[in-house]
Symmetry: C2
Subunit: 292 residues, 2 copies
């Protein structure tokens, strides 16, 4: 299956799962950020991992969509004035700019339970034991020991000018803020396909490395766009002092590290006989966009 | 078992489940609101319902604690400046006053997944199918069709001066904002005890009525305390225009309605042979506090 076929499948299901009910403002707010145009990378990687290990893509669709809902939740709350205070997201007004802070906060809250509910409600072919395994992955990576831990450390590192162990902290926040959702996506895809522990370990390692690469690429693109915008006085003032791979190691070392990790990802694939045009294209796309 | 024994059990387990991990600020913020002194009414009613229908209290403890965590989550986010903007909760500074808005927002988010994770992690004696039933109850009552729906309608009714169908809207928001957590508590207690559909229906009806009574009592107590404080210029300005049972029907009619519903609760108990000193004491306590 091609990237666009996956995206089509995922967006059709997201539309179906997120029908507008009463109170409309809540459901519209939830759906607004989930349906913002995007690459659907996490759900695509969930479905592709399921396919690679011999599972039915259809069985993983509710879980893939749940992960996209969770991703949207993190964006809604990250953009709030008390967090990153961003007025725009993917070129559109951010959720709270459209629906107000109160509804945006509640829409994020609602997605946090709507996502796992989508798994239990629509995973008709999965056994109760498999559903619980998938939910445990969700709880683990979405919660206080996962994405949220990364977000907390990110916020606290930003306010701490005398930060020690910057390297360690950066790795922690990249692992949790970014890699965790990719680990969740790929691990659940593998679990639904019935992958054994060895395959699950390989999946976890690939997802972790890929997530780090994705975050470093993001840091590089942020740096390049800030640099390009400086002449237009659009520089991201609020991001100044933010701990990123580029601010810590410099642009060149970041590009080098990114190149290394992406090659590691390719090595993992070839070493374990993972045949995926989708993953290869995603890796190549990151390389191209960051102009390595 | 007596009320205080239940409370002791619940608080011990909450303490155990919410051990402080890294990042400490996050876990401390989560634990802070969960451990504020309170009556633990929802988890107590979960455990007592389990006992009434012949279940083991121990089997319901993780679920009871999860419901208390969920309750704390609603308090943390309700108190945020973009919501009710309350500086105090149960006589102590509210969560965001202690930990800041960003951490309070994230602690609420974290509790939303930590709660169901507590169920899957610690419910050793429940079958996977029962765990999924309990989680579905949680997702249903905690989410966009439950507590959060009530919260949204509450906020929107507050800003709408030309509101039509006030009676209907008040019932909707009381049902979802308040009754839903009691329904969740009692229904999961019954499910864990293996109660059949008929018993589950009775439980649902009792919980729904009890939740309405609880909310009307809260409205009455709010009104009385506002009245008492008027001379001290401590009147709750921001609550003015808020849609409550008292503002809509007046104090006397609210007291009358409360009395009726509490008697309905007693009728449900005697009609279905529900023998519970705990429930009787809770009902009597509400009567006394509202001086009917």
């Amino acid at each position: 299956m091609k990237m666009n076929d996956y995206i089509g499948l995922i967006e059709d299901k997201l539309n179906e799962y997120l029908e507008i009910e009463y109170p409309q403002s809540l459901f519209k707010s939830m759906k607004y950020t989930v349906m913002l145009p995007g690459k659907r990378l996490r759900p695509v990687m969930c479905l592709e991992t399921c396919r690679i290990f011999g599972g039915e893509i259809e069985d993983a669709l509710p879980t893939a969509c749940a992960i996209e809902m969770l991703h949207a939740q993190t964006l809604i709350h990250d953009d709030l004035p008390c967090m990153d205070n961003d007025d725009f997201r993917r070129g559109k007004p951010s959720n709270h700019k459209v629906f107000g802070e109160a509804i945006a906060t509640l829409a994020g809250d609602a997605l946090l339970t709507y996502a796992p509910q989508t798994v239990t409600k629509h995973s008709k072919n999965l056994s109760p034991a498999t559903i619980i395994r998938v939910l445990n992955e969700y709880f683990n990576y979405a919660g206080a020991r996962g994405v949220i831990a990364g977000q907390v450390v990110d916020i606290e590192s930003e306010n701490d000018t005398k930060l020690e162990n910057k390297e360690e902290i950066l790795e922690y926040l990249h692992t949790h803020k970014t890699s965790d959702l990719f680990q969740l996506a790929m691990r659940t895809g593998a679990i639904i396909a019935g992958a054994d522990d060895e395959k699950l370990d390989v999946t976890t390692e690939f997802a972790k490395q890929f997530g780090l690469a994705f975050q470093i690429a993001d840091d590089i693109l942020d740096e390049i766009s800030t640099f390009e915008q400086m002449g237009k006085t659009l520089g991201k003032d609020k991001e100044e002092g933010k701990l990123t791979y580029v601010t810590l190691y410099g642009l060149e070392r970041a590009k080098c590290k990114l190149s290394c990790i992406l090659n590691d990802c390719r090595d993992i694939m070839s070493l374990h006989g993972i045949d995926s045009e989708i993953f290869e294209n995603i890796i190549t796309d990151i390389e191209k966009r960051t102009q390595i």
